[in-house]
């Protein structure tokens, strides 16, 4: 069972500012889904190697060469707030 404190902790990790009502609904729904997912524990997977990808892939290499890329204006065109050639964010470091 996932507790209200767990839900609040996970919401902080996920950077989601949820209301009290949202947190409570989330707790109920996550418990329903996790209760179902718990059936996985019944399977014996001792010695089974994990699959992270459907197709076996080793490192994919390319030449370390430059190629055309977005101009600063194109890269910044969708920014909610910009300052010259930079993305603008709320102040992070205290003066």
């Amino acid at each position: 069972m996932i507790s209200r404190q767990d839900v609040e902790h996970v919401a902080r990790l996920a950077r989601l500012a949820l209301s009290d009502a949202d947190l409570e609904r989330m707790r109920e729904q996550l418990n329903g889904i996790l209760g179902y997912i718990d059936k996985l524990r019944a399977l014996d997977t001792t010695g089974v190697e994990p699959t992270s990808h459907a197709v076996p892939l080793v490192n994919v290499m390319r030449d370390d060469a430059t190629r055309p890329c977005l101009s600063p204006d194109e890269a910044l065109a969708n920014a909610p707030e910009r300052s010259g050639q930079f993305f603008r964010v709320p102040k992070i470091i205290e003066e």
């Binding site: 996920a14 089974v48 920014a79």
Partner: protein, 482 residues
Amino acid sequence: MRTIHELTAAFAKGEASPVGVAEDYLARIGALDDRLGAYLTVTRDDALAAARAAEARYRAKAPLGPLDGAPVALKDVFCTRGVRTTCGSRILERYVPPYDATLVERLKAAGAVILGKTNMDEFAMGSSTEHSAFQLTRNPWDLARVPGGSSGGSAAAVAGGLAAGAFGTDTGGSVRQPAAFCGVVGLKPTYGRISRYGLVAFASSLDHVAPFALDITDTALLLAATAGHDPLDATSVDAPVPDYVAALASGVKGLRVGVPDEYFGAGLDPEIDRAVRAAIDVLRDLGAAIERVSLPTTEYGVATYYVVAPAEASSNLARYDGVKYGLRVPGGKDLIDMVSRTRAAGFGPEVKRRVMLGTYALSAGYYDAYYGQAQKVRTLVRRDFEKAFARVDVLAAPTTPSVAFKHGEKSDPLAMYMNDVYTIPASMTGLPAISVPCGFNGSGLPIGLQLIGRPLDEATLLRVAHAYEQATPWRQRRPELS
């Protein structure tokens, strides 16, 4: 309703014009889409410009190939240069990509006429398109019902005659399931067969780019034009792309078709059970050898998927932070507060649920029990298929346990998730799988036959699907919209 190959053959003979056909589709969208809700954005001017260019090529007897002038629709998950790409989400409501996805580049290079961007469940998370932040999409066969999802807009557009073909993405069934619900063909190719570059990511190890079409020949044409290695997608498969259309006519004589017991158990609608078994009888009559097989871990598929996909999604969706693009909710007391308020306002309930679930499954103390265990079960699912494919060439099964349901019918998240029970195993293993129309239930709603093949063996899938399609009348029946 004409197929792409019929349209382009008519263009080549001068019996139809790409501009005239594009105008017909745009007029039909204008007349019907208020009710259907398939499109989020219609790119009228770009479509007509592309159609005029195609027309000039046909006039010069130099078309680009079998898709030149074909009117197609794209799920709003593919980045289109200069055309808003929302992914069905408020957080990307005003996002205009500065580049084209590889899929879009290849379609344009083949001469396709892109009519617009179609509705979808937000970030492709859902099975009904009801999780779109913008609008409902209706099933052309019954407007009270969902088209399936998450690529419901693309499926409804093709089924309703609002596009001749379309592309969607299939992560847990999001092309095959809406194809089954809307009575069209939907092919999820092998993982990596079509580049994911420029596709807004949901679950990177599970996301597949996938075409919808009215018939198998069109499906083969759409796959052939878009498959193949792309250096911009490190997971794209570097393997030759065969001539899919040429392989269609070979028939099924001598092929071994496996029927997995676990896909016909409790929870399967009896009318679907009957239709799919009748389809398997058709394959037998056509000369295929039918064999029972077992995929014992099938019942763990949904649980495994709902750990792996949310885990990957929670990581992929971390990029929506109100800084680089997308929505920003101003006024937070610091950066973290701004990011947290932006995400709370920009994501809908299902996306939040999955981000929370994935974050939980990856968090300290729970990682091994959930994510680690799910990855091991994923190996067991793969071994099931390897064992089956040692004996048979393709598997035949239902695509979905039920026909299209009504809007609002599945309000419980888990009930919605269970709709993917038969499509998830091929997603988790990256195996090619196709949904082909195989009849209708008593209320006239379409039913899908799912065929699953060996890795990179789309050719055999298409060959079996084509033999079945040619032997049955289903593709003649279309929904009546006026």
